[in-house]
Subunit: 360 residues, 5 copies
Amino acid sequence: MVMFGKKMVKKAGPHEKVGLPPGTLMHIGERKTEKVKITIIDYDEKELQEKEAKKVEECFPFKEKPTVTWVNIDGLQEVQTIEKIGVHFGIHPLVLEDILHTGQRPKAEDLGEYIFIVLKMLYQGGSEEEIVSEQVSLLLGSNYVISFQEMEGDIFNPIRERIRNSKGRIRKAGADYLAYALIDAIVDNYFVILERLGEEIESLEEELVKNPTPATLEVIHKLKTNLVFLRKSVWPLREVINGLERGESPLIKEHTGIYLRDVYDHTIQVIDTIETYRDMVSGMLDIYLSSVSNRMNEVMKVLTIIATIFIPLTFIAGIYGMNFKYMPELEWHWGYFGILVVMVVIVGFMALYFKRKRWL
Amino acid sequence: MVMFGKKMVKKAGPHEKVGLPPGTLMHIGERKTEKVKITIIDYDEKELQEKEAKKVEECFPFKEKPTVTWVNIDGLQEVQTIEKIGVHFGIHPLVLEDILHTGQRPKAEDLGEYIFIVLKMLYQGGSEEEIVSEQVSLLLGSNYVISFQEMEGDIFNPIRERIRNSKGRIRKAGADYLAYALIDAIVDNYFVILERLGEEIESLEEELVKNPTPATLEVIHKLKTNLVFLRKSVWPLREVINGLERGESPLIKEHTGIYLRDVYDHTIQVIDTIETYRDMVSGMLDIYLSSVSNRMNEVMKVLTIIATIFIPLTFIAGIYGMNFKYMPELEWHWGYFGILVVMVVIVGFMALYFKRKRWL
Amino acid sequence: MVMFGKKMVKKAGPHEKVGLPPGTLMHIGERKTEKVKITIIDYDEKELQEKEAKKVEECFPFKEKPTVTWVNIDGLQEVQTIEKIGVHFGIHPLVLEDILHTGQRPKAEDLGEYIFIVLKMLYQGGSEEEIVSEQVSLLLGSNYVISFQEMEGDIFNPIRERIRNSKGRIRKAGADYLAYALIDAIVDNYFVILERLGEEIESLEEELVKNPTPATLEVIHKLKTNLVFLRKSVWPLREVINGLERGESPLIKEHTGIYLRDVYDHTIQVIDTIETYRDMVSGMLDIYLSSVSNRMNEVMKVLTIIATIFIPLTFIAGIYGMNFKYMPELEWHWGYFGILVVMVVIVGFMALYFKRKRWL
Amino acid sequence: MVMFGKKMVKKAGPHEKVGLPPGTLMHIGERKTEKVKITIIDYDEKELQEKEAKKVEECFPFKEKPTVTWVNIDGLQEVQTIEKIGVHFGIHPLVLEDILHTGQRPKAEDLGEYIFIVLKMLYQGGSEEEIVSEQVSLLLGSNYVISFQEMEGDIFNPIRERIRNSKGRIRKAGADYLAYALIDAIVDNYFVILERLGEEIESLEEELVKNPTPATLEVIHKLKTNLVFLRKSVWPLREVINGLERGESPLIKEHTGIYLRDVYDHTIQVIDTIETYRDMVSGMLDIYLSSVSNRMNEVMKVLTIIATIFIPLTFIAGIYGMNFKYMPELEWHWGYFGILVVMVVIVGFMALYFKRKRWL
Amino acid sequence: MVMFGKKMVKKAGPHEKVGLPPGTLMHIGERKTEKVKITIIDYDEKELQEKEAKKVEECFPFKEKPTVTWVNIDGLQEVQTIEKIGVHFGIHPLVLEDILHTGQRPKAEDLGEYIFIVLKMLYQGGSEEEIVSEQVSLLLGSNYVISFQEMEGDIFNPIRERIRNSKGRIRKAGADYLAYALIDAIVDNYFVILERLGEEIESLEEELVKNPTPATLEVIHKLKTNLVFLRKSVWPLREVINGLERGESPLIKEHTGIYLRDVYDHTIQVIDTIETYRDMVSGMLDIYLSSVSNRMNEVMKVLTIIATIFIPLTFIAGIYGMNFKYMPELEWHWGYFGILVVMVVIVGFMALYFKRKRWL
């Protein structure tokens, strides 16, 4: 969890900027990619233009075109790029600040001319148990969507394919539908993370029954922290999408409503599953703790049985190991065998006692 | 819980479709039946027509007839069948998608021409502790109800009987009453599941008092997970039915309101009972844990009593087992018997001490 | 809790009826009384008529009389009786069903002509720790109240007395005041149950401090389950009475409002007390668990002290019990006494050590 | 907690009255004072009249006077006194009942002519850990406030002083300001209780770190119960005062609003502090429990180290204490010293092992 | 936590004033600074005047000037100073009281002429784990902001710099923007505290895995209390800022709304992070507790293995240490070596048993 914990702290907020005037642009967050990459896709029902922009200025002319334009920017370290877009598209400095500070909470803000949406993209990290979070910001205007990602990802590729191949209704629909498609891709991706967690929970459950170790506890803890993290990323989305659907912004056309409601349902489903997993994981902790108790119990029983049987016998042997001059039993011919018989009888009684107590 | 856990994961959502355009039809979920079976019941107060359709097209003419038509489809694997119905009855692709993706949350959506309702049917699985969930989707139009099940079930048979025998007011009422009857049958069935769980809880409670074992813990855990699962399936229903009752859809006539309120009451009752069971089960976990502690305590007491009595005695015996040349006591004539008396006195004091501590 | 648990399950709901058309009358619940008993009290400010009806038809003429009529029915097993009342007074079949199915949740439904109210009467059962619940249904019409009980009870007797003796304002008021009086009697009775539970909690608290045993735990568990049960019965009442008070039914006159608000306050008080008791009982569980730990601790300390003192001494004795040919100490004249002195010194050091650890 | 528990039970509600008509006056609660004492203070900006009334009738004429009149009644056992006031001032019987039944929940009721307010005054009881609760009821009319206390208290004395000395704006303001001043005095007094609890928590925290004993646990439990009790008394106040402030009663003038908002803020502060204390106390329980575990751990370690070192050594000594005829080692000249050396080596290895395990 | 606990108690509320008329000015809280320091900054887009006032009267003329004036007062012990400001600026006595009583909860009150805002500034205290809280009160008028601090701090210095250097839009904006800037500085500072806590949590997590000690538990407890404290300080802010943003006060211009929404987002982020930390810390407690159990388990295993192996062997040695006359085995030539072999075999079996139990 080390890396994870670090990220949560480092991303906690724009504290490095304490005291600077609001709207001062500065990238806060890890630099996750080498070069900033700008791709432009411009389409309507009939035509499609796609290119990778060298300079940010290349996307400016599309603002005026009636076609739908999707500008995607991977990498946030070049502040001037973001700033130029801000100036050209008339974006409020605070919005630009939020795009650059990657510790935002998912939210949607209607600013009249455009809607600003912040989402969290979640990836399974390199190692098994790690979940990496990336901030995706969307600016939805009347005929454009600008998306900002911290690093290049392949999660939007299927949407690019759909645009290229005119699959589905995407080419016929407007920018709001494109924004919906991007949100949908991100939410759908949560299910992949959930499935992975579900599998971990399942295998943990088996481990818990068969052979719980302290390592099991650590995995439980990690799962729990991951779920807390997931929850934090997904929970606000509910409100965000609900707000978009019910919002009165003319930027979102009425027939996109049903699609947003669909994403909303998916979000609720994700939240539901997270809550269920949380319940299951906390139940597993209880099981783990009581299985530790049970094992201790078993250990104690073994010790108690052995000690209870042999301590009295050892005492008897000790008695006849004493060196008193006058110990009549020592002289008896059957004394030794007699005492062995006595010991066997004692063991028998003990065994009976333990059996009655169900220790054996 | 293995199977159960798997299902929860596999059904978690439409992740297999990540990136496909929304509305792409594909059956997601287990294939639970061999063949798709379509049955049509068409009735009004006077006439009744019932048949099993070979082709889905057979049910199309009923759309126009003023009589109430109930089309029931068991099995979702034939996507084209669902698609054809969708086209003919004018169902939105996203709705069809939801019908096919069996990981939906219970919900009701008013789409103007028809109302789309998703419910969860719960069955006691083959084995004792297993609960199987099946998605049932209803499409309620002005004069038809189309129901989609994942597999054939006998839960709707009594309703078929009532239609055939003109029992109750079903033949006199419209499609909304039929939809209500189907929902009611599903909710009533939850009580069967609850009764089973109640019996398990009861027998567990006895077991807990008489002889708790680690297996008891596992059963508690399983019960808990089952209750979490039940809760997840039933909780949203509350809102669903409330929405139907209060909704302003002209598809639901006013006099059906009281029936929906009745199902609503039943749903609340189910939720209440689930919450009560959850409270009881979590109370049982506490009892289990403390009974484990109590047993450990008892084991420790036995060990301590035995050890505390015999260790000092063994020490005394050890003293007189030493081989020193000059040990005057060894020479005394009553030394041996004297030391035995001393030991008995010690045991007596110990017994008193333990009695005072209430260990004996 | 066995009996209690059973009841909760058996009453859970109308599952025995799965598939029957709604409104089919059938008594679901235990048959708690031998014979159905119908009593009629008819009164206005001046006159009073009281009789026990042999046939249910005897109460029909009162429907038309402008005087207030209270029909009380003890015992629900004779379905036709209920049905006849239903037909004569124009009661909806679903309401009759709810009267007969004694697993209802407290609720109030305004059906225009009459208001239907379901309540739970709670009795201290025969044995000490048992709480028995009985469903009481009220039908409040413009000039009549019909009350249905599962068995005869004496809780309404004071109200009968008040009517007979013209005590209070009951003879001057209408049917709504009578309904209020019945509800008030039931709510007041909850305080008796609460007082009993309060006494149990108090005596348990003393027991917990003085001498906790595994039996204590069972009592705590039973208390907890009883409180869960109580809560389930009382919680919905809050909404029920609030609904009656704020409801716009013309059946409830304005000046009855303040009385209903009074019952409402009592209900809140009952709920508050239940919550407080729940908090206290769960605090007691913590105390119990930690007192078990403390006792184990004490047991372990005794064992450890005894073992730690005697094991080294026994070892020393063992050393000089060895039979080596050349053991110079054995030959020394003061060897034996010297070794005894050494042992005493060791014991002294041990005692000091334990004192510093505060074990003695 | 015994006394406390009792009070909670005894005060639980008007159960002794089950079945009596509502509005029957009877004092329910402990009789806390010997004699009923009635004091009257009548004032306006210029004049002040103060007297102790022998008969309740003495306060009647003030009802008509335009000056502000404060009638304070200590002791509720004389039911006729309360009744006479009720008749003269036109108080509803149910309100009188609530004044007499001292188990009410804090509440405010607007009855048109007057506002009825119930509050809980809390005192530090005689013994250290006891909190005593007293019900204070206020009747606020257009030009009078009647306050009912269960016993004489000195909490209102500063207000009397302020009236006498014309301090603050009290003499210039109306009856609503007087009512506010009384409420404010009661809420301010909660801070005294809170401070006391805060000190207890602080000292407990130190004790917990230094030397936790089972007595510590009892104190934690008592604190917890006290906090539950406090919470129950203060929580409803929030709504009460909010209701007064936002209420549209003409009895409360607009410029009193800011004062009520101030009391409201104090109430929120009290609730906040109670919640914080609850969090802290429940954290302390966790610490206590784990410190018990830690001590057990330590005890076990001592036992284990001693036993693990000496049991093998004792076994070796036992070996050479055997009386076999042919035991060559016994004959060796350096056998005894050799075996001592072996034992020392074993102890050394054990010490190393324990060191590596960090037990030493 | 001692110091911290003390502060929480001492600041709990204005209890020292019980009974005094409301609005009586008295500084309640620690005196945190030696001398009261008043600084005045007056500016508009073109001009800037900055001075340190010797007398409070120096700031009075600025009230009438159309420029924006920021009066900052460090130190609250001189009650007359506050009072004079109150009189000159027309501040309500209760507001002045709240400024002086430093135990207020964060809140915002719209009083028409001005808005009164209370906030909590949090500092990392001198020692590592201490968080110090200071009350900052703001009075926002149409053209002035008066800020009251308990002690001098450097948190507002960057804002002073921005005013001096005309950085950002502060010089162009009004008093409401200045108030926003102050609030923003305080909220931004929370992130610093959070980062520190995050680092503590991270290092604790490592410690927990590697080597948990009772000291770890204390740190966990301290973290928990700190988080409870933080939460108490930040939680109400949410409502405060939301209230300012949505409030209809003409003092807050429309274009400041987006800035307030930005602070609001930051507050939500702080709250979110606090909740996440709370979850993590409580998860760590579980881990700690179970790691204590695990260690006990390990200790017990060592004891049990040693005892179980050697106790039976010692018994056997004891047998042949007995002094019976007739013990044939003693005479056998290979008796001694035979018994050693028997012992080795027993040890072998034990080892196998333990291996199967996975104890070795």
